[in-house]
Amino acid sequence: MTQSVPAGRVRPEDWLMVRPEGLYCAPADLHVDPTRPVARAVVTHGHADHARAGHGQVLATAETLAIMASRYGAGFAGRTQALALGETLSLGDVRLRLAPAGHILGSAQAVLEHGGSRVVVSGDYKRRRDPTCPAFEPVPCDVFVTEATFGLPVFRHPDDAHEVARLLEQHRRNPDRTIVVGVYALGKCQRLLRLLREAGYDRPVHLHGALEGLTRLYGELGVEVGPVEPATMAARERLAGAIVLAPPSAIADRWARRLADPIVAMASGWMGVRQRARQRGVELPLVISDHADWDELLATLRDVGAPRVWVTHGREEALVHAARGMGIDARALALVGFEEEGS
């Protein structure tokens, strides 16, 4: 399938191309989420596979810049420029705007317009409600660059509330045990805290040290998560009957085994597949994801109405297949350095 190009228009692939360091917009001399240091980058969100230190200039939301500063230190880039969601910036004859992506606090889609066509680079996104960030905004466009982390029809995430209810039921049934939940430090941790509060759980939640900094930052950026306490081993006895959040690397390790008869839980979209959960030694898999599931991916392709879709970051082949079945000119965008992020 080839797309006919109206006179006067430039084809998007002539001004937006895949380079070893990432997606590159030549007329603006701008990279989107580059994985190596570049002169100028727009960063969609603070996750490490999108946000790297060492660029000459970084354009991002104020929240993403704050997150990067907290992770990499204040001098993570030569210069930074905060862009509000919806604000338009001209770079040569390219117009750049950020639209909410609904992925984590500060996450945005990069909307690029040039030569009469519009390309939206979604970064990571999801479509369901997240109490820590504004909802994804579908932006009609000519080319939609989508992620495909959960790009197989077996990924159909249940309601968050349903999963949190399961967590709280286990908590109620096991008053002498500690439930330790594996969560990613950026985004998932704070979202789960908010979901617990929404479900009426108002007791202190104990945090592994690796989660404390970003959670404090979220609070400073206006995302209140209720009472949290450090999950120090000195307080081991007090942790019986408590909920502890810890990074995924800690839940299967000696740290967790020193807790009071722990029930190991994990909050991730991958938990929908039993084998994945068992491989990680998880007893209580919670399907809570910051990425769109299969139905959300397909719904988004319909919502943005782009005749062309470039798929990256996950299971490209299945989403390309399904998009073609919808009459969309879809292909895989081979991006280097974007590993499976695992959230």
């Binding site: 197989l152 029809p153 077996v154 597949v273 898999p285």
Partner: protein, 526 residues
């Protein structure tokens, strides 16, 4: 089903024995009967469902999901049941789902047990539409027989025992006498019932069988010493119900209850009974062919249950409550049977009536009228006989309605026509005269299988004594039991008799030709 699915799911993710025990105990404590009992049965391998093959599951998915996407998904997930459970598209009609709540485990078991093989896919698909992903996974594990969640029978029993103050050894002791869904077991361990008696298992008692009434035997029998009843044309069965268990056994002790859930459901008493299994509509016994449609099925659909209702016509009572009546004489047992019946009025049973008679000729006349459908003949039972196992001599006799069969001797064989032209397939047979001469009485060319035809053909070729064109004369060495619809005088046959519609009923390879019937036997059937 969703609760059971959550249990299975949690068990699959819980590595520790104590964790599994706690999950099971909570489940058994929180769910009502019979749901918890079926869960126990599912985990201990006590449910025997018509298993769905993986191919059936694949076919159901193929109707709903792009095959390319399914293949990639299956590659990723690595388990057919789980892939299917996850990929199954939720039905669009939310209202429809509201109207049909997800099935209970008990409903799933009941409907699958009653379903024919052909009905299983639609049933499963309907449930997949109603269940959530975990429910679908558990259902598929259940129907494909792949319930591996690391629960041993011992852990499950320990969890049941843990509901009360009962040690697991005590559960083991009564276990073999129990059947799903184990209501008496749960009642006992929770203090709501007595200990189930392991001897209360509904077991088969060997049946008492009859001998055919030989000619002339009646002369030596005193009519007053025998009771007579009709020999119904159904299947002889034994009903065994103990309160805890309800079974329906065939004459050989095979449990045939699975094909007759309508009947089994009514066995709400404690007794062992002997009777004839029939299909009865509005009090009328249907032909045997109707009953045949319900036989040899592991399961039976609801349509057939309605159109072919099962019934038992009672002959005898072996055990009443705790009391073994087999040592009593027939008359005494019959009295007990009649009392039991009028007390109980079982929903799908009646009594096989006794036939009043004082002389044998009187009974012979009644028997001649027994040509109506569903009556095979008469039974004569010695009034003083206890209920004995096996086929004891001198107690029970079957006196079938006019047999209209005679044992003849093969005399000539002729080549057939068409595809049988290379076989000797048309047989002329005869009976012995008083003088010891064999005279032809008829000709038959059907009533045997293709295999039997080949055997007969070989026998003919090996025992030929003479050839007349296409006809071979054979030595008088093979007995054929010939069935026929009637006999009349004929001048065309040397015997002076002609049979109507003769056919080979059986080849009596075992019977010496000298013991075949004599001409007067046939003359008596005129």
């Amino acid at each position: 089903m969703n609760r059971f699915a959550r249990l299975l799911d949690a068990l699959a993710f819980t590595p520790s024995r104590n964790g599994k025990l706690r999950l099971l105990r909570d489940h058994f404590a929180e769910l009502p009967d019979p749901e918890r009992g079926w869960a126990l049965a599912a985990l201990t391998g006590g449910i025997d469902l018509p298993s769905a093959k993986p191919a059936m599951i694949r076919a159901l998915v193929a109707e709903r999901v792009d095959p390319v996407l399914f293949t990639w998904s299956y590659d990723f997930v690595g388990d057919l049941a789980e892939t299917t459970a996850l990929i199954w598209p939720a039905p669009d009609a939310v209202a429809e789902r509201r109207n049909a709540p997800p099935p209970t485990l008990a409903e799933v078991v009941a409907e699958l047990t009653a379903a024919s093989r052909a009905e299983v896919p639609a049933l499963v698909a309907g449930w997949l539409d109603q269940l959530d992903a975990t429910g679908r996974w558990a259902l598929l594990k259940l129907v494909t027989g792949g319930m591996r969640v690391g629960v041993s029978e011992r852990i499950a029993k320990t969890a049941v025992a843990g509901l009360g103050e009962v040690p697991v050894e005590a559960v083991e002791e009564v276990w073999h006498g129990l059947r799903p869904p184990y209501e008496p077991l749960f009642a006992w361990v929770t203090g709501a019932g007595d200990r189930p008696d392991p001897e209360a298992a509904a077991r088969f008692r060997p049946m008492m069988l009859s001998h055919p009434l030989e000619e002339g035997e009646l002369d030596a029998m005193a009519p007053a010493e025998y009771a007579a009843e009709w020999k119904w044309d159904g299947i002889r069965v034994q009903v065994a119900a103990t309160g805890a268990e309800r079974r329906l056994f065939s004459r050989t002790g095979e449990d045939v209850g699975g094909a007759f859930p309508d009947l089994v459901a009514t066995l709400d008493f404690r007794a062992v009974l002997d009777g004839e299994l029939l299909v009865v509509r509005d009090g009328t016994v249907a032909p045997f062919s109707d009953l045949q449609q319900r036989l040899n099925r592991k399961t039976v659909g609801t349509k057939l249950l309605t159109s072919h209702p099962a019934w038992i016509r009672l002959y005898d009572i072996l055990v009443d409550g705790e009391e073994d009546l087999r040592g009593l004489a027939f008359d005494a047992r019959r009295e007990r049977l009649e009392t039991w019946f009028s007390d109980r009025r079982p929903a799908r049973m009646d009594l096989s009536p006794l036939i009043g008679f004082t002389t044998w000729p009187e009974l012979t006349e009644l028997r001649a009228g027994a040509r109506a459908a569903a009556i095979e003949g008469l039974m004569l039972k010695r009034r003083a006989s206890p209920y004995l196992s096996g086929r004891p001599k001198g107690h029970w006799y079957k006196w079938k309605r006019d047999p209209l069969t005679v044992d003849c001797v093969l005399m000539y064989a002729q080549r057939g026509h068409g595809k049988r032209s290379s076989f000797y397939s048309d047989y002329t047979f005869g009976l012995w005269t008083e003088a010891g001469e064999l005279v032809p009485v008829g000709k038959a060319y059907f009533g045997f299988t293709d295999d039997e035809l080949q055997q007969l053909d070989r026998w003919v070729r090996n025992h030929t004594t003479n050839r007349f064109g296409p006809v071979r004369e054979v030595e008088p060495g093979l007995v054929l039991e010939i069935a026929f619809d009637g006999v009349q005088r004929s001048t065309r046959h040397k015997s002076g008799l002609a049979m109507r519609f003769p056919r080979v009923a059986r080849i009596r390879w075992d019977k010496p030709a000298g013991e075949a019937d004599r001409l007067p036997v046939l003359e008596a059937m005129l």
